[in-house]
């Protein structure tokens, strides 16, 4: 069995967001890039499944649609433990480009399980996974919070309003994953980091998927009022904050 994890290269969640070109483009200057957090969890789960599979999952591959600049992020996925990587050499201009390029690659290189994050933390479109499944004419499950494989039986938990649905499916399929799929993203080991450059990172030519979106203008949301999180056990701090800062006690 082979698993493919689609990863997108996104700005670190602490990035200060700025726009250029009359607010029609995101300013990428001095941005720290990371693996989209859901994708990193998906990768972590894929590796856990492979390690627990007793060899029946042979390989975990990561794929990214992006320019050469996204290679450090791809190598981070290799450092975390993916066996190999594919970069489809195209600007990820919108979800259609990404899904179209991924579909083109997967049609020629089939995988048993394709994992996508529920959305990417930059544009939050929540489009790629569903679109990809449609383009490939594969079954897909959305909002996946658990994925288990036991004796080739696949069970999936899907989050629904007020509860969760347990499904089973056959391969191949696309799972669109969210919170719960893995507890925490795996930290790469020193060995993994040193090995990353030695693993295959195959660059493939773009199939030429066209964008369907035009960005007219970006706008920043109004700044949020300050919110402080207090640990649930830390009543003393809460009381102190209410007393000294909010001055309501």
């Amino acid at each position: 069995m082979k698993i493919l994890v689609c990863i997108s290269n996104v700005p670190d969640t602490t990035t200060k967001i700025r726009f250029t070109d009359d607010d029609t483009r995101f300013d990428t200057a001095s941005v720290q890039w990371i693996i989209n957090p859901w994708d990193e969890l998906a990768l972590t789960r894929a590796l856990e499944l492979k390690e627990g599979s007793g060899g029946s999952i042979e390989k975990v591959t990561v794929v990214n649609v992006g320019p050469k600049e996204s290679e450090p992020t791809i190598r981070k996925a290799l450092a975390i433990g993916a066996d190999d990587a594919v970069r489809i050499d195209a600007e990820p201009l919108d979800a259609h480009v990404v899904a179209g390029e991924l579909a083109g690659h997967i049609r020629n290189n089939p995988y048993d399980i394709v994992l996508c994050g529920i959305d990417s933390s930059d544009y939050n479109g929540s489009l790629v996974g569903g679109m990809l499944a449609e383009l490939l004419d594969l079954p897909s499950v959305s909002s996946v919070s658990k994925l288990n494989i036991e004796n080739d039986e696949i069970t999936i938990n899907r989050e629904i309003d007020g509860g969760s649905e347990i499904l089973s499916t056959e391969t191949p399929f696309v799972a669109i994953v969210q919170k719960g799929i893995a507890l925490e993203p795996r930290i790469p080991s020193m060995r993994g980091i040193m090995m990353a450059r030695k693993k295959p990172l195959n660059v493939v030519e773009a199939a030429g998927a066209e964008p369907l979106t035009e960005f007219v203008r970006f706008e920043l949301p109004p700044p949020k009022a300050a919110c402080k999180m207090v640990d649930e056990e830390n009543i003393r701090e809460l009381v102190a904050l209410l007393h000294n800062e909010a001055k309501v006690l």
């Binding site: 190598r75 790469p188 080991s189 020193m190 060995r191 040193m194 300050a226």
Partner: protein, 398 residues
Amino acid sequence: MTSAIIFPIFVSFINLYTMNFEFSEEHKMIRQAARDYAQRELLKDVLERDAKAEIPWDHIKNLTELGFFGMMVSPEWGGGGMDTISYVLAMEELSKVDSATAVILSVHNSLVCWGVEKYGTPEQKEKFLRPMGSGEKIGAFLLSEPEAGSDATHQRTVAEDKGDYYLLNGTKNWISNANSGQIYIVIAQTHPEKGHHGINAFIVDKDTPGITLAPHEDKMGMRSSDTHSVMFSEAKVPRENRIGEDGFGFKFAMKALEGGRIGIAAQALGIAAGAMERAVQYSKERKAFGKYLSHHQAIAFKLADMGLKVENARNLILKSAWHKDNGLSYGTLSAMAKLYAADMAMEVTTEAVQILGGYGYVKEYHVERLMREAKLTQIYEGTSEIQKIIISREMLRD
């Protein structure tokens, strides 16, 4: 015409004097891995471990699995094969949260593993470095004695030459990793008449009969790093466990400490940077006299001073690490790095407590602990005064 002549000269100058302040992709990944581990895992129980002075066994295990223990040991001996820059980045990030765990790593990596790899025989490496390279066994470095601290030349621990073996008698003091560690490097006097030229260094298994530990020291800071006195009573150490020629021990210890200081300097840097990050955050949340602390210039200027000192220390430490990695001499630089970083960590953490006011003085807010931890970096692996002796001696040398 002239520009045609000048241009090629200009190009060759650029090649000659290339300087590069950029980290490699691997460096950034290592720093991030250490940061993630520290912020996600060490932070969870650091206050509790500080209160209870408990050895962080789980963290040692996890950091071993991640490959931090033995990270600079060559892969030939089961290590990570990383450079000193990587090690500095890891030490800084771990120490931002928990320098007690970081010092266990530092003694293991920069004193013990380095010493055996650099000066050990192939047999010693097979037997002792391999398990340390993988982190399966942890190292400790036994130099200080009750009456030989800064002046390490007057070793009272005796290693009597008995032919096939040496017989060790005496007491070592303040030994980090005495309990968590398994492989000791012990410095002892074999030929008292030769002064420090008679000193030897030995690799000793902790389970050797005749070795006992005094109770854990109840310390001001770095409380979950285990520090004990270690007593040797007729402990037999095979001759083949001696490091280098007869009488090489003192020089060996000084060489190991040259590199060790880079680790401790990076630890001090992390402590300071951790306290500074907390002070910056706090100053943006706390209001006094109707405005945020950060909008009071007196506080903002304190933050500016902290930022400057932290950056200065970082540069000096990375420079000494770079010298070490490139085979250049680094003894004076690492003494400067440790002196500057330790003193600056004391200043920065003290100011961080000041910025947090009363909150800074209670445990929940971490900065008082960081201040207690900073103090030790001015003391061990050579006090700040001793670093000044090392630096000035080099400057005054004819």
